[in-house]
């Protein structure tokens, strides 16, 4: 196919200046590979595609006729299969413990393998997307389209020697790479993937999620403390400080979700949004923003990744970790981003429902699509925004997010009680609340920003300009005057 690319060069493109550029231009793209294939291969591909479509139409017909509903082979809800298995095991008369253990193992392994598989492909997706944002190509050498790059990275990391710094607390030093994984996995428990497909559908699911996410900070702190390194300790202290600040906005923003849905159970929250044909994001835009922004701070994603800010403190809490131990920290960061995506989708974007489409398409695919969408926003932010300063972030949490969140909890409490008493159709009331809350959000945010001293940038924003207010000697002098 490379010969095909050279025989048909891009029109009006000058000869690539360097061998590197030439190689990049010759990389096979999907379209060019398809065009370059011989006729039988192309015909076979078309037949396969048509067959795939036919199978999908047949499945669609099965779904519409209702012959699938609730049987163990109803692929729209994998909970049916495990439920059927549990019932079959119970019929054998071996006691309820066996069916419980078997289904629990299947569910746990399902979550583990899903997260593991996504971690393998996720780094590739993130690097390719970031490359697109920065007008680069990204990893494209190992395997087709560079898909095997994460595997190559993992192999390289495993081969590396794991160093223990002199003076490190040896017993504690080996714990954190394992400990950070526990909350990242446990957090997936209550997320509902379909009506019967929630692994841990407890009725305090929301509080459980917040509690579990607060445990990750301990592993990070142990990592920073046991490394016997100033940069690592600085990163750990920053993480702890951020966690103390941003736990509060997360909890308060979820409080208004609970006020509207009247339940702490994640499946109930999704069901509420489905029965009212709405997304809580439309009613509670500020809560969505607060949850999303605070979550980026909690899981150390850019723009809030000051705990491992490379330009300031080397790599923060995992400075001293080498080999696969560092790799585990990086992997868990990605897993946490996906988990936050799942939580944002469940709390604010309707979870596995999509206005009736979940009857036709497997709901877990819809949830996976929403998770990818939120994850894309994470990557987008990482490719776009610079990092905040530590004091900026703390001030933003305490002076801006927390007061406004408290105000919005009051507003949504009033609205929730109106909604519970109103005789009007739900969609009218909720729509009115959506409009009112959008207006209130704009007004209150502008008002509070003026009070708190945030200023909108002046002048022509399209023009590049040298700034004298951020960083450098001037800022240091100003700080010395005020403090």
């Amino acid at each position: 196919m490379s010969s095909d690319a050279t025989s048909r060069p891009l029109p009006a493109a000058p000869r690539p200046a360097t061998p590197m550029l030439r190689q990049i231009l010759e990389q096979p793209t999907l379209r060019r590979a398809f065009r370059g294939a011989p006729l039988p291969v192309r015909l076979a591909l078309v037949v396969v595609a048509l067959g795939f479509l036919a199978v999908n139409v047949a499945i669609g017909a099965l779904v519409v006729s209702g012959r699938l509903d609730g049987h163990w082979y109803d692929f729209r809800d994998l909970g049916n299969a495990t439920g059927g298995l549990a019932a079959w095991l119970d019929d054998r008369g071996l006691g309820p413990w066996l069916s419980y253990w078997v289904t629990a193992l299947i569910g746990g392994l399902g979550i583990l393998s899903f997260v593991g598989g996504v971690l393998l492909i996720g780094t590739w997706v993130e690097r390719r997307l970031l490359a697109k944002f920065q007008i680069r190509r990204g990893p494209n050498r190992v395997g087709p389209f560079g898909l095997l790059q994460p595997l190559a990275d993992a192999l390289k990391l495993i081969q590396k020697e794991v160093l223990v710094p002199l003076g490190a607390d040896r017993r504690l030093f080996f714990l954190p790479p394992i400990l950070v994984f526990i909350p990242a996995m446990l957090g997936w428990g209550p997320v509902p993937w379909a009506p019967r497909m929630a692994y841990l559908d407890i009725n305090v699911g929301l509080v459980y999620v917040v509690a579990i996410s607060s445990l990750a900070v301990l592993a990070i702190f142990i990592a920073g403390w046991s490394s016997n390194n100033h940069y690592a300790l600085l990163g750990a202290m920053r993480t702890v400080a951020m966690m103390v600040s941003y736990e509060i906005p997360v909890s308060i923003s979820l409080l208004s979700v609970v006020l509207f849905t009247g339940s702490l159970q994640l499946s109930e929250i999704v069901a509420w949004q489905a029965t009212h044909n709405t997304w809580l994001a439309m009613i509670l835009p500020f809560a969505l923003f607060t949850f999303f922004f605070s979550s980026t701070a909690e899981i150390n994603r850019t723009p809030n990744d000051i705990a491992e800010a490379e330009s300031e403190i080397v790599a923060g809490f995992h400075t001293e970790y080498s080999g696969m131990k560092a790799g585990l920290f990086l992997a868990v960061e990605l897993g946490n981003a996906l988990l936050v995506g799942a939580l944002v989708a469940t709390f604010f974007l309707g979870g596995y429902t999509l206005f009736g489409l979940e009857e036709w398409v497997p709901p877990y695919l819809i949830l996976a699509g929403k998770i990818s969408a939120v994850y894309f926003v994470f990557v987008w932010l990482r490719g776009t925004l610079p990092r905040f300063r530590l004091d900026q972030l703390m001030g933003y949490a305490w002076k801006f997010l927390i007061p406004l969140s408290i105000a919005f909890v009051g507003i949504s409490a009033v609205e929730a009680s109106i909604f519970a008493r109103a005789d009007l159709p739900g969609l009218v009331v909720l729509g009115a609340f959506g409009v009112v809350n959008a207006v209130l959000t704009v007004v209150l945010v502008r008002f509070w920003a003026r009070i708190a001293g945030y200023e909108a940038p002046q002048g022509d924003l399209a023009q590049p300009r040298l700034t004298t207010t951020v960083g450098g000697l001037r800022a240091a002098q100003r700080l010395r005057i005020t403090r």
Binding site: L172, N203, V204, V207, F221
Partner: protein, 189 residues
């Protein structure tokens, strides 16, 4: 309620909790002691789960393992004598007294309780409702006074902390004079 799983779970969790608590006393390093304390907290949360108190269990993880431990870490990190040996504490005698008092309380409750009503068939006959909703209704219903008193106490603690760390007014005035107008607004707010 007395199935094998619950019994095994109880003994394992009790062992974890007690081992963690012993580790707190035995550890020479203050930070190790804190991490043992967290293990003990998590074991307690597990014990609450075996008692069907799901909300209390989650709150235990959220507040004790998640928040209190972070505060402890902060307090230890900001203490000048972090690397000091944990052994030579001044408070051994009062600590032992307080522990004895707590143990006496637990023993009294255990002896006083009517176990016939709290185990076996009598326990199985009771229903365990949604504890979060029940606790919420009790907090703003029957125990609203205690709830309000506790929140007022917390508010005073918050105000006290702000007063303690806030700079004096002279410093503020000096800072406001040095700053420009926008930052002056910030101080007023």
């Amino acid at each position: 309620m007395d199935s094998t799983g619950i019994v095994v779970g109880f003994w394992v969790l009790a062992a974890v909790t007690i081992a963690g608590a012993l580790g707190v006393i035995a550890a020479r390093d203050l930070l190790h002691a804190i991490f043992f304390l967290i293990v003990s907290f998590l074991g307690m949360a597990g014990l609450f789960i075996t008692l069907s108190a799901d909300f209390i269990a989650v709150a235990q993880v959220l507040i004790y393992a998640g928040a209190i431990s972070v505060l402890l870490v902060f307090a230890v990190m900001l203490t000048p004598l972090v690397s000091r040996d944990n052994g030579n504490s001044l408070y051994i005698a009062p600590g032992a007294l307080a522990g004895l008092a707590l143990a006496a309380l637990v023993v009294f409750v255990a002896v006083d309780a009517d176990w016939a009503q709290l185990s076996g068939d009598a326990l199985a006959a009771r229903s365990f409702p949604d504890t979060a909703a029940t606790i919420g209704e009790l907090l703003v219903g029957r125990y609203v006074l205690a709830f309000e008193v506790a929140s007022v106490l917390l508010l005073f603690a918050l105000l006290g902390a702000i007063v303690l760390v806030h700079e004096r007014r002279d410093d503020d005035a000096a800072a406001a004079r040095a700053e420009d107008g926008a930052a002056g607004d910030e101080e007023a707010a």
